[in-house]
Structures are given as structure tokens and as C-alpha cells.
């Protein structure tokens, strides 16, 4: 007689390409997360902070896993290297693509911007007009923040909405602005 089978997880290192799961379940879960937080906060800022915190929890685990899978032999010690790792490897792990662009803010030493044209997390989410400033991609901001912080580059990350060139296009692009703290600049 067969006992009910337990599927053992495949060893982390053997999976180069993670099996895909259905996006719907992911979207429904994220929608539930937002409703859950929404009932427990008083303002939009607080909601974004909660999402950021949740993202940081995810980011810590993501960094560990992506690092192991990519078989990195050394730690990233350059700030730009860590940023590129985020926009390529981590992005590919999370969204199956690389980020649309990584830019440096003019006149600012320690500020960078990651542009994402079609954010996956908010594909089905239309934010009502009275909450227009809310960007649910704060959770991705949290992931980016923790990936960079845990790599040794402490920083702050904010997610902003930015309209497309054609302003009627919806949903808008998302900009993640990253402000590194002075101690993350190891070259000085």
C-alpha cells in the first residue's frame, strides 16, 4: 500500500531554471496581502512601509538563493557590480527578464535609478484615484533594498510612478530610486 506521497524539494543547487508556477495564484496572493495590510494601516505611507518591510524579508532569502544558483565564487565588492547583479540575476529570478534600465542620477554621487516599464506585481492592479500616489511595487523596492544591504551596500529605496512617454498609457512605469549611504562607498 502506498503511503500518501510527499514530494521532496529538489536540491537548491541542482535547479538552474526554477519550475514556473501559474501567475494567477501569485497575483491573488499579492492582492490578499495588500487587502490584509490595508485594513491594518492608517495612511498610504504606512501601507508602503509595510510592503517595503515584507519585501526585505523576501529579499534576504532571494539573495541567498540566487547567489547559490548562479554559483558565484566571490562576493560582489563593487557598488556597480552589486547593482548590475540586482538588475540582471535577481531580476531574472524574480520576473524572468532583466530590468529595463539602470541609470545614475545626474549631479548625485550615490543615487541610482532602476526603471521597470511593465512591473509584474502590479499587472492586474488599478489603484483608485483617491490613492493615486500609492505604488504597490514598494514590495519590490524592499527586495532590492535588502539584496543591496545584505551585500554590504546599505541604502534606501523608494518606488515611484512615472508616466510613459505616451501619458495615456496605463499602468505607468515604476522607478526605483536607490540612495546609498556614505558607508557603502568602499572606494573612498
Amino acid at each position: 500500500m502506498n503511503a500518501p506521497g510527499i514530494t521532496l524539494p529538489v536540491p537548491l543547487l541542482q535547479v538552474r531554471r526554477p519550475q514556473s508556477i501559474h501567475f494567477s495564484i501569485y497575483a491573488l496572493l499579492f492582492a490578499e496581502v495588500i487587502s490584509y495590510f490595508q485594513n491594518r494601516v492608517r495612511s498610504i505611507t504606512e501601507l508602503e512601509e509595510r510592503l517595503l518591510d515584507l519585501g526585505q524579508e523576501i529579499g534576504r532569502r532571494v539573495l541567498e538563493l540566487v547567489w547559490l544558483r548562479e554559483k558565484f565564487s566571490r562576493r560582489e565588492i563593487e557598488l556597480l557590480g552589486a547593482l548590475r547583479f540586482t538588475t540582471t540575476s535577481v531580476w531574472r529570478f524574480l520576473f524572468g527578464k532583466v530590468a529595463d534600465s539602470l541609470e545614475r542620477v545626474k549631479d548625485k554621487e550615490n543615487e541610482y535609478i532602476i526603471v521597470e516599464n511593465s512591473p509584474l506585481f502590479t499587472r492586474y492592479i488599478s489603484v483608485p484615484l483617491d490613492l493615486a500616489d500609492l505604488n504597490c511595487n514598494a514590495i519590490v523596492g524592499g527586495i532590492i533594498r535588502e539584496v543591496l544591504c545584505a551585500s554590504g551596500f546599505p541604502c534606501h529605496v523608494d518606488a515611484h510612478n512615472a508616466p510613459h512617454d505616451d501619458e495615456t498609457e496605463y499602468p505607468p512605469r515604476t522607478l526605483f530610486s536607490i540612495r546609498f549611504l556614505p558607508e557603502s562607498n568602499h572606494n573612498l
Binding site: A27, A31, S126, P171
Partner: protein
């Protein structure tokens, strides 16, 4: 062969989305609400008068008249998608549109944390994709 009107009716007969297109008599909102709940009532009755006992029977699925054709699509959740079109519109096309509409509802309304179930659908992404879906089948702009 245009589409005249599209309704989405919730489980209790309330109208949660409606669109009327150019070329048809335009009904005021209150009348739309009344029509939707009447249709819901008719469907409930038509289930009961069925001579064959069948739990899967959803009752009224369509209505044909000389000047229009009405098609109802009802998934197991009880939400009704209703379309009114010219009589020359093939049934498969109408059903296809309604299935796509169901898909949009499942994606852009139900997966949106700011949408409350059984309430009127006011989601920008739903509107955008609905307009895209309807574009080949209507004459003139959305009313």
C-alpha cells in the same frame, strides 16, 4: 454587425458593469439596473421550469428576436455576462466575447485588491482592456 450593449450582473442581480454602444437606443442608468435585475429574475425562473432535473442547467442562455440577439454566459460562480447584438452576429462569436469578458473580470477585477466583490467595477485596467476587446465589434465610440 455591431454589439449594442454589454452587462455584467452579480450573483444577486445587481448590475456591476455596463456599456452601451453607438447605434442603439441608449437607456438611462436606472433603467439598465432594472433590466439587469429583471433578466436575473427571468433566469432564476427559467431554471425552475426546466422539465429535466439538472443541477448544471443555468436556465436562459439566449434570446432571439427580429431586431436583436441576446446571449448570456454564466460561469459556476453565478456572475452573468450579457451581450446584446444584431441578429446576424454568430453565436460562437458572441460566446467568445463573453468568455474573454469573463477572463478580464477574473484578472482585472478579482485580482485587484481595491475591488470589492459584487460591487460596481471601477478599475482603470478593466476599462482599458474592455475597450480593446470591444473595438472590432462596435461602430463609433463607447457611450
Amino acid at each position: 454587425m455591431p454589439i449594442y450593449l454589454v452587462f455584467v450582473v452579480n450573483r444577486s442581480g445587481g448590475l456591476i458593469y455596463h456599456a452601451q454602444f453607438h447605434g442603439a437606443q441608449v437607456h438611462p442608468l436606472n433603467e439598465c439596473l432594472r433590466l439587469a435585475s429583471t433578466l436575473h429574475g427571468i433566469q432564476q425562473i427559467s431554471r425552475q421550469v426546466s422539465p429535466v432535473e439538472n443541477a448544471d442547467d443555468i436556465g436562459l442562455v439566449g434570446l432571439e428576436a427580429r431586431t436583436f440577439r441576446l446571449r448570456v454566459y454564466q460561469p459556476p460562480t453565478g456572475v452573468q455576462f450579457v451581450v446584446l447584438a444584431t441578429p446576424d452576429m454568430p453565436d460562437e462569436v458572441l460566446l467568445g466575447i463573453l468568455r474573454r469578458l469573463h477572463l478580464l473580470y477574473a484578472d482585472y477585477a478579482l485580482k485587484n485588491p481595491f475591488y470589492v466583490q459584487d460591487m460596481p467595477i471601477r478599475c482603470r485596467l478593466f476599462d482599458i482592456h474592455f475597450a480593446k476587446l470591444m473595438k472590432p465589434h462596435i461602430v463609433g465610440p463607447l457611450e
